[in-house]
């Protein structure tokens, strides 16, 4: 990889630190989405082939009478937009699957980010270089919240396009015009929506990334256990003693806003689940069914919620603590 020489040394250091993370975690960052996308595509292909074969065996020949074409020609504009939506959904579904994979990758990456090198003592090598602990931690945050999602989205778009192409080609065997169908889909809009979602993801995932990295920097062993057991045990105590009653809140509030928010915010899309007022969202969905859930304007309404910004603050605090432990933890 050739990189242009950067004048700003801090920026250059950061670039190489992120590159280092990519070298080390190529498997999670690159191969995991590629393999998952490939398998998804393969399964779809197999499903289509199976359907075609079964269809042929049982004499259900949709294509024979050009029924599908007939149906298409009878569609009005509203129906057409639904076809487009279904095709867009084919693209989103690939990325949707990859975003679940991404959630797991980011979760475990953060847990190991400041722990693995303490365990194998290679931290002593990294610490022999003139790089501040803050830069190191920041490079890992960037890798988790920007680099990994970018690769996942790129893979999602590539496989989504392939998926779309596959569907249209199959439909074209049944007499439907490929280009006509492709024109109904909005791959560009889907792409923009997906990429545009990343900055929001960075902000939303921060408390989880911060919490996991803090555990990663602090735990002497088994960071996973600490990261999960600590909030869950606290949640159980809170529920048991009804502590939240003191603040006029239910235990459910604690589970949702502290435990789940802290542990699962690295999974893309959780912002739309926890972050937005459910009634309001249900109302919006009822008013405008379709793929509104991916529209950036809707998603970015999250920027107006206190939940997001409190999470950003909490994440920042947790990361500051992680940096402190990275600097002073003395056990290797």
């Amino acid at each position: 990889m050739n990189t242009p020489s950067l004048k700003n040394p801090a920026l250059k250091n950061m670039l190489w630190l992120v590159k280092r993370e990519f070298w080390e975690h190529r498997g999670g960052f690159f191969w995991a989405p590629v393999i998952a996308g490939g398998i998804f595509l393969l399964l779809n292909l197999m499903a289509i082939v199976t359907a075609e074969v079964i269809g042929a065996q049982h004499g259900i020949h949709i294509s024979d009478g050009g029924d599908l074409r007939q149906i298409m020609s009878q569609m009005d504009a509203g129906d057409m937009s639904k076809v487009g939506m279904a095709l867009d959904l084919a693209m989103y579904s690939t990325t949707g699957l990859l975003s679940v994979v991404l959630g797991f990758v980011v979760f475990f990456y953060c847990l190991g980010a400041l722990y693995d090198d303490r365990r194998d003592r290679s931290i002593l090598f990294w610490k022999s270089l003139p790089i501040s602990d803050a830069s190191t931690v920041l490079s890992k945050v960037i890798s988790a919240t920007v680099l990994a999602p970018l690769i996942a989205v790129a893979a999602g778009i590539a496989f989504g396009m392939l998926h779309l192409l596959m569907l249209t080609i199959v439909l074209s065997f049944h007499g439907v015009d490929v280009w006509h169908l492709l024109l109904l889909a909005h791959p560009l809009r889907v792409t923009v929506n997906l990429i545009g979602y990343i900055p929001l993801y960075v902000l939303w995932a921060l408390p989880t990334v911060g919490w996991l990295m803090l555990c990663s920097a602090w735990a002497r062993n088994k960071p996973f256990l600490w990261a999960v057991a600590l909030p869950v045990a606290t949640g159980l105590l809170v529920s048991w003693f009804g502590i939240m009653g003191l603040f006029d809140l239910s235990s459910g509030w604690f589970w949702e806003n502290i435990v789940a928010r802290g542990l699962f915010s690295a999974f893309p899309g959780t912002g739309s689940v926890f972050g937005v007022d459910h009634r309001q969202m249900a109302h919006q969905l009822a008013a405008n069914p379709g793929l509104r859930f991916m529209d950036l304007a809707d998603n970015y309404q999250l920027l107006g919620s206190a939940n997001l910004w409190i999470g950003v603050l909490a994440g920042g605090g947790l990361l500051a603590a992680a940096i402190w432990f990275r600097r002073w933890r003395d056990d290797s």
Partner: protein, 285 residues
């Protein structure tokens, strides 16, 4: 010239043990200092304090920096090899060189590649595929290509065979060390470093029990091989240590005049390992 390291009243308390107990010393530039002590004596803690890897009480100045507060700047001037096998196992030779070249302003890539060319290391080789000896070759090539004023080596040759060990110190002397550089090395293999050291520090139970340059050590400590008839006379001079070889007694004296000892028998310069053993007597008892 001003000192590379000045420490005064350095103390470090771990939960159960006192790793450093009011330690003070001063290291001048252009020296190769051997920091030698039994396991758990506080060697590594002292090095960690110098490198800003651990907190401590007392005053410590390394190249004009306080390692606690100015660690990032300090590490631009200091290199260290903690011990073999701390290079990340996933990294490739080429990646290690690329990375250090781009984050370390004092790294000379051509120099590093010249060192690597003298080894069997291949650019695409990963650390996990290397033997311990090869890992230390890579680490040394990286470190020697960095022009810093202070190099710290903590058991750098542990577990290496004798070929690698000899080569390690030879490279260090021939291609790295000069009057502007300072090296601090801890090791258990005293006999291998004793000919390259300029200064010797013994540490025991968190205290410096000996801090002298090698010439002073040669004058202060004398070993005498004494026949049985003069052994009692020798014992009255309060030797540090006595051992028997072929019916003769070998006494180790600290600070007894050469002329006095010459009358007792054949005198010679003690090896550092004998000196070490005599000084550390009873450590594990």
């Amino acid at each position: 010239m001003s000192a590379v390291i000045t420490a005064s009243g350095l103390s470090k308390q771990y939960k159960s043990a006192r790793a450093l107990d009011d330690v003070s010393f001063r290291i001048a530039p252009g020296r190769i200092v051997g920091l030698i002590g039994p396991n758990g004596a506080g060697k590594t803690t002292a090095l960690k304090a110098i490198l800003g890897l651990t907190d401590f009480t007392g005053e410590l100045n390394v190249l004009g920096f306080d390692p606690r507060r100015q660690r990032d700047k300090l590490m631009g001037e200091v290199c260290f090899i903690a011990d073999v096998a701390v290079l990340p196992r996933w990294i490739k030779v080429s990646q290690a060189v690329d990375f250090v070249a781009n984050v370390h302003p004092r790294f000379d890539r051509a120099k590093c590649e010249a060192f690597l060319a003298r080894t069997k290391l291949q650019p695409g080789q990963r650390v996990r595929q290397m033997s311990k000896g090869m890992i230390v070759q890579l680490h040394l090539a990286l470190v020697m290509a960095i022009d810093t004023r202070l190099l710290i080596l903590d058991e750098p040759t542990l577990g290496l065979d004798i070929l690698y060990r000899k080569q390690f110190y030879q490279n260090l002397l021939e291609d790295y060390f000069d009057e502007n550089k300072t090296i601090i090395v801890t090791t258990h293999q005293v006999e291998e470093v004793e000919h390259i050291l300029t200064d010797l520090m013994f540490i025991r139970d968190g205290r410096i029990v000996l801090d002298a340059d090698m010439d002073a050590v040669g004058e202060r400590f004398i070993e005498v091989m004494v026949n049985a008839d003069k052994a009692d006379t020798a014992r009255q001079l309060k030797p540090l240590d006595e051992r028997q070889v072929f019916g003769k007694s070998i006494f180790l004296f600290d600070g007894v005049g050469r002329d006095v000892l010459e009358q007792l028998g054949e005198i010679r310069r003690p090896s550092i390992s004998d000196l070490f053993v005599a000084t550390m007597k009873g450590t594990y008892a």
